[in-house]
């Protein structure tokens, strides 16, 4: 924490020392900052203090004589005299501790928390007490599952209100609560309403004792044989800071690290538990190549040879898809290799994002700026709660605690609708018109399914003079990205000062853009000298037999590209598919050469998050099987192809990256390893993207409903599917309809309906989705049991479907 700026400090006395607190600083924090740790259980730096546990009582004289005060609720006032060691203080703290212990079980040896438990530690320090309590302890049924991921042992619970406060105040999922009263008080859920929160794991981490345990970690390891390093989550582009913990060279637990800039210590359950996939059956451990006409395990040099051969095809006959999974250094190595080969057809996105130059050209906001007090945030993206959960928590906090106003300009209601000052949900394809209407101040009548009143309130907020941040992403996979581009152009016309925060979700995508792994840009995010094909173009060319080699750089187009048919055709048609990946998937299955890459937690590197912040990726465990770091694979392919990357170690790569890319010129790579928020790289561009504002919206073809396809956190993706604890979480596939459309179509809620797209029919249960505009229909992307990509085609800028009962 930073020291107080001179002059602003509040003078007070702590255990005889004259010190300064920050204005408004809580005593418990000020003391901590000056090296005095006051014991506490209910206090948590990222939650509202409640002063319940009374462990932090200290003797304070604020002018009216010394009195016991909870230091977690007390802001330091001038000339306050605090005594944390007086007899009164110690007596009070010991007394509270004894009362904690009388009903607390003595099962530390079998408790997950044993060895890292503040109660246990304090108890050793304190000693006696216990023996004086000869009465029966409180008894409860031993651990009960309160969700698929979290178990609760009520006998161990000390009722500190941390989990419940987190659930209601931070996550907005008040599904666990204090029940009953007094000495019978317990934390629990409502019968048959489990604690189904995307953020449940945070309660386990926040629990000061072993009352809450995470199913994936229970009994996996003991704190004393755990070692940890601090790293960055690659699960999504927020880049949450994490601590990777391993036992016997196996990753067993991920904890959130409190990064002031990014995740404040919180994680989504996906960021916390999806590491399970790296140890799963699907993990790729051995190189494979064609032996005869069978793809089977071979030695590395043989596989590399096969890949090199495929890459020696004419440059314009090669397409490379993917790269967002890779650490920055590997992205650089690949970029250099492909440039040296003259390959321009490279795209780190899978047609499910936005053009690289648009994002690289516009994105200039930080998370802190987007979540700034009193700001205005426009959501021109998918639901952050589903795609960028830790960003969602920051935005939610901004709206609830810091007076930020949210404007939803989204295809459907989001997890933030409850906090939104204005909710605009245009019909698919209409978002550009709606944004234009805002820009033109034409808020008189309904546009694209958005009521005049909502247009007016949104317009008011955008022109209020308050700082505006546009969160820009791909809201609807069934809709051409052109509409979002036109919309952001219009919004910038209305609010030229508005900043843009990228909501491209995939791992290290922003590193990939800086490294030029996108057709519109070259290394250093400079406009491409030769513009190659994007993923859509690559797949079309491949399907048309115009490509020989397709390299999948940690990409699964069959699952992710919003036109599965095309992706399949493409992979069938090219002569060689080279897959470089960590996990087996449908696209890897179609490959002729498979190069196993080392996964997050197994390699060192760097990560660039959606705000352009550089942070470290650290190796904690030995790489699985024969897998190798992506940068090494690139380097070896380079030498196999007699190309010189000028670097054969990670450090050399970093050096040449700094040399080649101005934005990284003064990065101190070694400083990345220390546990502070990484540096923001300079993203000012000498160019600006073209943002065509007028795009035609195809008139409805009489089919009736316009489709919204977007992601849910728990989907059928390999990461979730291969994580034992998460695999069961995806929802049943369903078709969401506006309440009004149920009558209009004569459908009963929950009834299975027939939906037809371009002639083909599918069946799904129809469920009501409050807030969805009439005439829209929503299907989650890539859920087990239903492949929404099958409904999509690159030829259709919007997707119309016909829905009929039976």
């Amino acid at each position: 924490m930073t020291a107080t700026e001179p002059g602003t400090g509040v003078a007070f006395t702590l255990d005889g020392q004259a010190l300064e607190a920050k204005p408004g600083e809580l005593l418990i924090e000020a003391a901590e900052r000056h090296g005095v740790h006051i014991p506490r259980f209910c206090y948590h730096p990222r939650m509202k203090p409640v002063g319940m546990c009374r462990m932090c009582l200290v003797e304070v004289d604020a002018g009216r004589g010394p009195a016991l005060q909870p230091s977690c609720m007390l802001t330091v006032t001038p000339d306050m005299v605090v005594n944390t060691t007086s007899e009164t203080t110690t007596k009070a703290q010991d007394g509270v501790l004894e009362l904690f212990l009388i009903n607390h079980p003595l099962d530390c040896p079998v408790c997950d928390k044993g060895g890292e438990c503040p109660l246990q530690d304090n108890a050793y320090a304190f000693g006696p007490g216990e023996s004086r309590f000869v009465e029966e302890k409180r008894h409860y049924e031993k651990p009960i599952p309160i969700s698929d991921l979290v178990h609760l042992d009520r006998e161990r619970c000390i009722l500190c209100d941390r989990c419940t406060r987190f659930a209601s105040d931070v996550a907005g999922d008040p599904l666990i609560h204090f029940i009953d009263r007094g000495n019978e008080t317990q934390v629990n859920t409502f019968p048959d309403h489990p604690f189904a929160s995307y953020f449940s794991g945070n309660t386990v981490q926040a629990c000061p004792v072993g009352a809450l345990t995470a199913a994936p970690y229970r009994f996996k390891a003991r704190p004393w044989d755990l070692t940890e390093v601090e790293s960055t989550s690659v699960v999504d582009s927020t880049g949450a800071r994490v601590a990777l913990q391993s036992s016997r060279d196996e990753l067993v637990r991920i904890l959130g690290v409190d990064s002031d800039a990014v995740n404040w210590g919180w994680l989504s359950d996906k960021e916390r538990f999806a590491y399970e996939a790296t140890n799963s059956e699907a993990r790729l451990t051995d190189p494979q190549a064609l032996v005869g006409d069978e793809v089977s395990q071979v030695r590395w040099d043989r596989a590399l040879g096969a890949a090199a051969e495929a890459l020696s095809a004419p440059a314009d006959k090669i397409g490379v898809i993917g790269g967002a999974r890779l650490p920055l250094e590997a992205q650089f190595a690949w970029s250099a290799l492909l440039t040296s080969l003259g390959v321009a057809n490279v795209d780190a996105q899978l047609g499910d994002g936005l053009p690289g130059d648009v994002v690289a050209g516009l994105a200039d906001a930080t998370i802190a700026e987007a979540a700034a007090p009193n700001g205005v945030v426009v959501l021109l993206s998918a639901d952050p709660k589903e795609e960028l959960p830790t960003l969602y928590l920051r935005l939610r906090h901004a709206a609830i605690e810091d007076g930020a106003s949210l404007v939803e300009l989204t295809a459907r209601p989001t997890g933030l609708s409850g906090q939104a000052a204005a909710s605009l949900h245009p019909l698919p394809g209409a978002v550009a018109e709606v944004a234009a209407a805002l820009a033109d101040g034409a808020t008189g009548d309904e546009v694209g399914g958005v009521a005049a009143a909502d247009l007016a309130s949104a317009h008011g907020l955008l022109t209020s003079g308050r700082p505006v941040t546009i969160v820009l992403g791909r809201a609807n996979l069934a809709e051409s990205p052109d509409y979002a581009i036109a919309a952001v152009a219009a919004l910038k016309r209305l609010a030229p000062e508005a900043k843009v925060l990228s909501a491209l979700r995939r791992g290290n995508i922003h590193g990939a853009l800086e490294m030029g792994l996108t057709p519109e840009l070259d290394l250093g995010a400079t406009p491409a000298v030769v513009t190659g094909l994007d993923t859509e173009g690559i797949l079309e060319a491949a399907a048309a037999g115009k490509l020989e080699t397709l390299v999948l750089l940690g990409a699964d187009p069959i699952a992710d590209f919003p036109d599965t048919e095309l992706a399949r055709k493409a992979l069938d048609r090219v002569s060689t598919v080279v897959a470089i990946d960590t996990l087996h998937n449908e696209s890897v299955a179609a490959a002729d050469v498979v190069l196993p890459a080392s996964a997050a937690g197994e390699v060192d590197g760097a990560f660039l998050n959606l705000e352009g912040r550089l942070s470290p990726l650290k190796a904690k465990v030995t790489a699985a099987g024969q897998s190798r770091p992506d940068w090494m694979i690139a380097a070896e392919l380079a030498s196999a192809l007699d190309r010189d990357l000028g670097a054969v170690t990670l450090d050399e790569l970093r050096a040449s990256l700094s040399a080649a890319v101005p934005a990284f010129a003064d990065v101190d790579w070694t400083a990345l390893d220390v546990a502070t928020d990484g540096p923001l790289i300079d993203r000012t561009r000498s160019w600006s993207p073209s943002l065509p504002e007028n795009v035609a919206v195809p008139s409805a073809d009489g089919y009736g409903l316009r489709l919204v396809v977007d992601r849910a956190m728990w989907d059928g993706g390999t990461m979730v599917a291969q994580s034992a604890s998460l695999a069961s979480l995806p929802a049943e596939p369903s078709l969401g309809l506006a309440l009004a459309d149920f009558e209009a179509l004569g459908i009963a809620e929950g009834a299975e309906v027939l939906l037809e797209v371009a002639g083909t029919g599918h069946r799904l249960p129809a469920v009501p989705m409050a807030g969805l505009p009439k005439g829209a229909a929503r299907i989650p992307f890539n859920l087990p049991g239903f492949d929404a990509t099958a409904l999509l085609s690159v030829d259709r800028p919007v997707t119309d479907i016909r829905v009929t009962a039976n």
Partner: protein, 208 residues
């Protein structure tokens, strides 16, 4: 049955309208649910959650804090016998034991015929009339054991139609006819009453 009936939903809506925030109506609404079913059923709590816009867990959190709310069926007549000090001094505990013996159940229990539940309760604000008890929250004062037996006999014989079944409190409800409402607003929009502003001495802003 245990979600609120349409009539009770109407009542609930009227009650909610008297508060600046819907959740403030929760305790009166839980009483309404208990009046309907004799206890507060899970489905009723889930329904109330919808009505005031919170989660069922939050409703349960409030409901379970207050001892008057029973989450399982109880006797038609709830006998709350006070044993706190004032009553204890004048035989409250003896009265409780007498009740337990005559009805053959322990405090907290319900007679097999589902007619009576006994509870050993805290001070019910009739200390000068000790020992005393409440039947469904209607008072009986200075009871001898014979008085108690007579009371039970009368209840059994249905002679006490002044005492409604468990769950019903006041028999008269507050009802504000719409034209008489002064104006109830959410705290977010409510401001200083015009009548007060007009009567304020210019000097003293605080108005007191």
């Amino acid at each position: 049955m245990s979600r609120l009936t349409p009539q009770n939903v109407a009542l609930a809506t009227e009650i909610i309208s008297r508060y600046p925030r819907p959740k403030s109506a929760l305790i009166p609404l839980l009483h309404l649910a208990q009046e309907q079913d004799g206890y507060v059923a899970d489905d009723a709590m889930a329904h109330l959650a919808e009505l005031v816009g919170v989660t069922p867990a939050e409703v349960l959190g409030t409901c379970s804090f207050y001892e008057m709310f029973k989450r399982h069926p109880v006797g038609t007549y709830m006998l709350n016998i006070c044993t706190n000090l004032s009553c204890q001094l004048l035989g409250g505990e003896e009265l409780l034991h007498h009740a337990e013996e005559t009805l053959g159940i322990k405090a907290g229990g319900t007679t097999p015929d589902g007619l009576f539940t006994i509870e050993d309760v805290e001070c019910i604000a009739a200390c000068t009339e000790a020992p005393c008890l409440q039947v469904n929250y209607r008072y009986e004062y200075r009871l001898t054991h014979d008085d108690f037996d007579a009371l039970i006999a009368d209840l059994r014989a249905g002679k006490r139609d002044d005492i409604p079944a468990h769950g019903t409190l006041g028999l008269i409800r507050q009802h504000i006819t719409p034209d008489r409402v002064g104006g109830i607003e959410p705290p977010e929009t409510a401001g200083k009453p015009a009548w007060f502003a007009s009567r304020e001495p210019a000097a003293d802003e605080a108005g007191n």
